[in-house]
């Protein structure tokens, strides 16, 4: 067993960390307050190659694999969860679905711009009546000549108002529905009939815009199908499987930021005549945070290794997302407790971290869905097949 990162991944992390400290940290509070991303920071991230970290250099990616992508998500989420979420939706699910199942032609057409950050991507799965029950999608694609016409609505789409290209899962055969009758299409934002809604007002992730996407007779050429017609649900589910690993990586960053802030504070905050670092009640909270973070880090990077080496990873990926999001929520909550009233102050960053962490237990498959995924993998190992 070898638990060391390669020299290139160490160097990648160093560059990303420097970038986050120099460029992102000074802007993170403003992004949250103003409720929109900073185009300048996105441009700089594009130059540094952040938008294509895991993908092959053949398609304009950085060739850093899932491990490199997990490093990116951990570091971004340590400093600015909003920006991490923009990247997470762009790379982890939107571009990933094209990368996994797209034809070489469609990948050549879109991925170089996506990897360079010239085009922002979004992943269109959730609908008003299809959340955890993703198979219940209704957005309809009707074939006329050599084009499909898309009609319907997607909801809670990360990057919705920003996206230049959108991967959309639509029903091409209502008789079959999601199981064999749903197809992934690439839609460009300029196309007639496509309209993103206004950014939603959310509890957290204010700097990462989320909106509905409206499709009114949007004509999509057949060439813009990703993967096989009818098998789009499989593509999207495979994408979500892999996306859970990097979501787990992001939660390491959030949890670590909470622990680091707490360690700084307990050294200086004096009560009852001594720094609160000397209080056992505080020490226990610090120790619990460190223990959970250490376990999570080992889990996530081992799972990234499973992905990079072509081994089965679905169960572990579900565990990354489940354990990671709950660890982050607990760690940030403890950090708020350690900081007392200061933890709630809007002038300090913990309140933002607390609001930003909560979505981790909901998006890209709620934690209840993760438990079903994990259980179905476990049961399959003993010969019981359940269908979530």
């Amino acid at each position: 067993m070898d638990f060391t990162f390669s020299p290139e991944h160490i160097a990648l992390r160093r560059m990303i960390r420097e970038f986050c400290e120099e460029e992102l940290r000074p802007r993170a509070k403003t992004l949250d307050r103003e409720g929109r991303p900073d185009p300048e920071v996105l441009r700089l991230m594009g130059e540094a190659g952040f938008f294509g970290v895991p993908f092959s250099q053949d398609y304009g990616g950085m060739g850093a694999g899932e491990t490199g992508y997990c490093i990116l998500m951990e570091e971004l989420n340590r400093v600015c969860p909003s920006t991490a979420t923009i990247i997470g939706a762009h790379i982890g699910i939107a571009a990933m679905s094209m990368y996994l199942d797209g034809s070489p032609a469609i990948k050549q057409k879109y991925l170089p711009d996506i990897c360079a950050g010239k085009k922002i991507a979004a992943f269109g799965l959730t609908e008003p009546n299809a959340g955890s029950d993703a198979a219940g999608i209704q957005l309809r694609a009707t074939l006329e000549g050599d084009s499909y016409f898309l009609d319907g609505q997607k909801m809670w789409i990360t990057n919705g108002p920003l996206a230049d290209v959108i991967m959309v899962l639509a029903v091409t055969d209502p008789a079959l529905g999601a199981r064999g009758g749903a197809t992934v299409f690439v839609v460009e934002k300029e196309w007639s009939g496509f309209k993103p809604g206004k950014p939603e007002k959310k509890m957290g992730l204010h700097g990462s815009p989320t909106s509905v996407l409206n499709f009114d007779e949007v004509r999509v050429p057949k060439d813009n199908i990703v993967g096989q017609t009818g098998l789009g649900f499989v593509t999207f589910m495979k994408t979500l499987d892999i996306g859970r690993v990097s979501l787990g990586a992001a939660t390491i960053g959030g949890s670590q930021a909470a622990l680091d802030a707490s360690l700084r504070w307990v050294k200086h905050r004096t009560q009852f005549g001594r720094p609160i670092a000397n209080m056992q009640s505080i020490q226990f909270m610090l120790a619990d945070m460190a223990a959970e973070i250490e376990a999570l880090r080992s889990l996530v990077y081992r799972t990234a290794w499973l992905v990079d080496t072509g081994r089965p990873f679905v169960k572990e990926a579900g565990i990354c997302k489940l354990l990671g999001s709950e660890t982050a929520s607990r760690c940030i909550d403890r950090a708020v407790q350690i900081h007392g009233a200061l933890g709630l102050s809007r002038d300090y960053h913990l309140e933002r971290g607390w609001r930003d962490a909560r979505i981790g237990e909901i998006f890209e498959g709620t934690n209840e869905i993760q438990r079903i995924v994990i259980a179905s993998e476990l049961l399959q190992e003993v010969g019981v097949r359940i269908r979530p």
Binding site: E8, A11, L12, E47, A48, G49, Q57, M62, G68
Partner: protein
């Protein structure tokens, strides 16, 4: 033409604690950084390197190699490692001089103006003297004008534009520019490529251990007394003190 940038690695100050009471320096973490002023020197060189060959040079072990791979990822065209650890300004200059001779030509040599650890500020002037070249110290910005190099440098009475005929040596001030970020793909490629770094042994440079005998020697650490805080006084009290 060849532009040579000399890179040095230093211990990360965040990994060190100094205990004055115990008269000891504690190394908590073995962590090395590219010397901050050298980052600025590399950035200054990169901005003028478009039509030239930028060669990064470093002496030392694994941390020096890492610095060179960083430089390649940032855009240096070549990187040369001499796998020898030399601590003394004279021997460092001797080795560097030989590297330059080995290279054939290096019309412009760029170094950081200060080094985070020893900060002897001797290597650049010694090198300029050894090569009989002009030296511009602590430039904030460098420009190439076909046969000369121009540097804007701060001196006691303000900023001056200094010009030197090529070949020349220039040192670049710390924090004088904003170093760029290496593109992630370049990092992956340069850390994976076995041939990203060229290696020169002492034998390649025509040097023996005898040529590199240090002239300085280490006699121990000394710890200046901690500076004491002054006293806070009101205006009236201050006037009284001054009139005493």
């Amino acid at each position: 033409m060849n532009i040579l940038v000399f890179l040095r690695v230093v211990r990360d100050p965040a990994g060190i604690t100094v205990n004055r009471k115990a008269q000891k320096v504690f190394i908590n973490r073995e962590n090395y950084l590219l010397n901050p002023a050298d980052k600025n020197a590399l950035e200054a060189a990169l901005t003028i390197a478009a039509d030239h060959t930028l060669i990064a040079v470093a002496l030392g072990g694994a941390p020096a190699e890492d610095a060179l791979r960083q430089a390649r990822a940032l855009g240096a065209h070549r990187a040369v490692l001499v796998p020898e650890t030399l601590a003394d300004a004279l021997t460092l200059t001797t080795a560097l001089h030989k590297v330059i001779e080995h290279m054939g030509s290096a019309e412009l040599i760029v170094l950081g103006a200060d080094v985070l650890d020893a900060d002897t500020a001797q290597v650049a002037p010694r090198l300029a003297a050894a090569l009989a070249r002009p030296l511009i110290s602590a430039a904030h910005q460098i420009t190439l004008i076909p046969t000369t190099v121009q540097g804007i440098a701060r001196q006691a009475d303000g900023f001056h534009t200094l010009e030197a005929d090529l070949p020349a040596v220039v040192t670049v001030s710390r924090d004088s520019n904003k170093p760029r970020y290496a593109n992630a793909a370049h990092i992956m490629n340069m850390y994976r490529a076995p041939d990203a770094i060229e290696r020169l042994s002492l034998a390649d440079l025509g040097l023996s251990a005898d040529d590199l005998q240090p002239v300085t020697d280490y006699r121990g650490d000394s710890f200046p007394a901690e500076r004491e805080f002054g006293q806070v006084v009101g205006v009236g009290e201050l006037a009284e003190i001054l009139n005493r």
